[in-house]
Symmetry: C2
Subunit: 315 residues, 2 copies
């Protein structure tokens, strides 16, 4: 039995939003711009480069407008920004964005605590965001947070997630991304949820945003590919991830882009990204932010590096 | 499309052999016996509890006979020992073992350097081992090292691995385990190789021994399950792995049993192992050997621990 992997997949780099957002310290705008420009040269298809959130809610991304103005645009890259509400969407439309990630959440507790809105109020914002995008060339993706687990409610019922997906589809979004948020989803949950969503809304474009709290993110990627998902969010150095994590888990929050790209390249699943260039940016980011070796690639777990090490040890 | 996972899989715990073998220091026999006894109570189906290798070749396992004599046998557990040659098999038959892992390698360079024999000479030893097992109740498994990559030769041609599998099958072994050795295999290589082997020798029992140098071991497990593999080697704390690894990779060598068991349990793939008991042993081993948090479970990346952490943070 041969497994049916997609021929190619699209990669979305999350470091500048999901990664920088989780850091305690503000990364200076100059550094952010430089890292985003480096990421633009790796071949990733899309970069979530900032979030148009209230500066008091996410102070580490308070320079969103300046970042948008200063980055070098690579015409082959889609520049996406997170917008948590219509106000954020208006700010995003004032700068040059190709796509917005309209954040919705399934969990009522999470929505109230994190966005001070009910799920229905957030969905109203999404409807307004789609209306605002209408007539522009800005695409709207719904990023469905707490699709599997919520930090306050625990396991989320699949039907609850599917109801939110349905509302997003009816609102007219161009893409739906299921997000693990807590990084606790397993391959069966991932394939079951996507399979049902794809059966109900077969014309929608789907993506997966994977946090890696349980270490299953590459297995989840594999599982998702086998049911037809072909767009994945990840972050160099694995920076990003859940809002609250046990001590010692900072830096293992997201799927490391450098590990993901190596797996896809080894498997012959095509991406536009160059594994060596992604690795070089990961090394730069790790050093600049003092992250250490937070991925297998950064630890040296690649074919070339291992064979080099063996050769050195034998000379 | 629903993915076809096996209903249940068997787990083989490698800590006492693959793990202890890689440590620079000798784990005192008392400690080894205690850890093996703890592992015997986790529900894993099989434990590779030592290696009957020449004491000078692997001094950290020089107490193999004493370990065999002193461990408490759980009747539900199969106690397996590695035997690199017929001399080792004779020692294994003198003590109480349920199964032996007759080590073979595909790479000629690796065989000569690590075992000072050619591949053909090793296969001759396997034939003798099978003869020695004949008429006893000891099962023989062929552990096929360097099935995918060799530290000296790089990528191993699949046909070379299949030739060694064929020789093992013809020798009359009861099981064949493909071993990544370098921990560099990817899901496509794993599924392709198993698929071909299973087509050629459909009556053989297959297992997978996964090192985790590239971080793909859970993805590889998933892929292997989808083509019908239902026996997996792993090691608590991920201890073990490749013979030579880049600096900083000690402790990420093997698939951590505690992570693997959590994934299988979450997916509803049955094992006899209890995730909480496996985790407790992993915590004990990590502390006793000073390993730190070398798995996602040890870092706290489980549903229960994450939700506890969130609750504590909110109180």
């Amino acid at each position: 039995m041969a497994l049916d992997f997609p021929e190619d997949v699209a990669l979305v780099e999350m470091l500048p939003r999901d990664g920088f957002q989780r850091l305690d310290e503000f990364v200076p705008t100059d550094e952010k711009v430089e890292m985003i420009d480096r990421l633009s040269s790796t071949g990733v298809d899309e970069i979530e480069f900032t979030s148009f959130t209230h500066p008091k809610a996410v102070p580490t991304l308070r320079d969103a407008d300046e970042v948008a103005a200063r980055i070098d645009r690579n015409p082959d890259v889609s520049y996406r920004a997170l917008v948590p509400n219509a106000v954020g969407m208006e700010r995003a439309l004032d700068v040059d964005v190709d796509k917005v990630n309209a954040l919705v959440t399934v969990s009522e507790s999470y929505s109230r605590k994190n966005q001070n809105m009910t799920v229905e109020e957030i969905l109203d914002e999404v409807r307004t965001i789609v209306d605002l995008a209408d007539g522009t060339d800005v695409a709207v993706e719904a990023g469905v947070g707490t699709s599997f687990y919520c930090p306050y409610e625990g396991r989320i019922a699949p039907e609850a997630t599917l109801e939110v997906v349905e509302a997003a589809v009816e609102a007219g979004v161009d893409e739906v991304t299921l997000a693990t948020t807590m990084g606790l989803a397993d391959p069966r949950q991932v394939t079951d949820l996507f399979t049902t969503a794809m059966e109900r809304w077969p014309d929608m474009e789907y993506g997966l945003h994977l946090h890696n709290t349980n270490g299953m993110s590459l297995a989840n990627t594999l599982a998702a590919m086998l049911v037809g998902v072909d767009r994945f969010d990840s972050s160099v150095c694995g920076l990003g991830g859940g809002v609250v994590l046990p001590e010692g888990m900072t830096g293992v929050g997201n799927t490391p882009t450098e590990d993901l790209v190596r797996m896809l390249a080894a498997m012959g699943v095509e991406t536009n990204a160059d594994p060596d260039r992604v690795e070089a940016v990961a090394r730069h980011v790790s050093e600049a932010l003092g992250l250490g070796a937070t991925s297998h690639v950064l630890m040296g777990g690649t074919v070339d590096r291992v064979l080099e090490t063996v050769e050195e040890a034998n000379n």
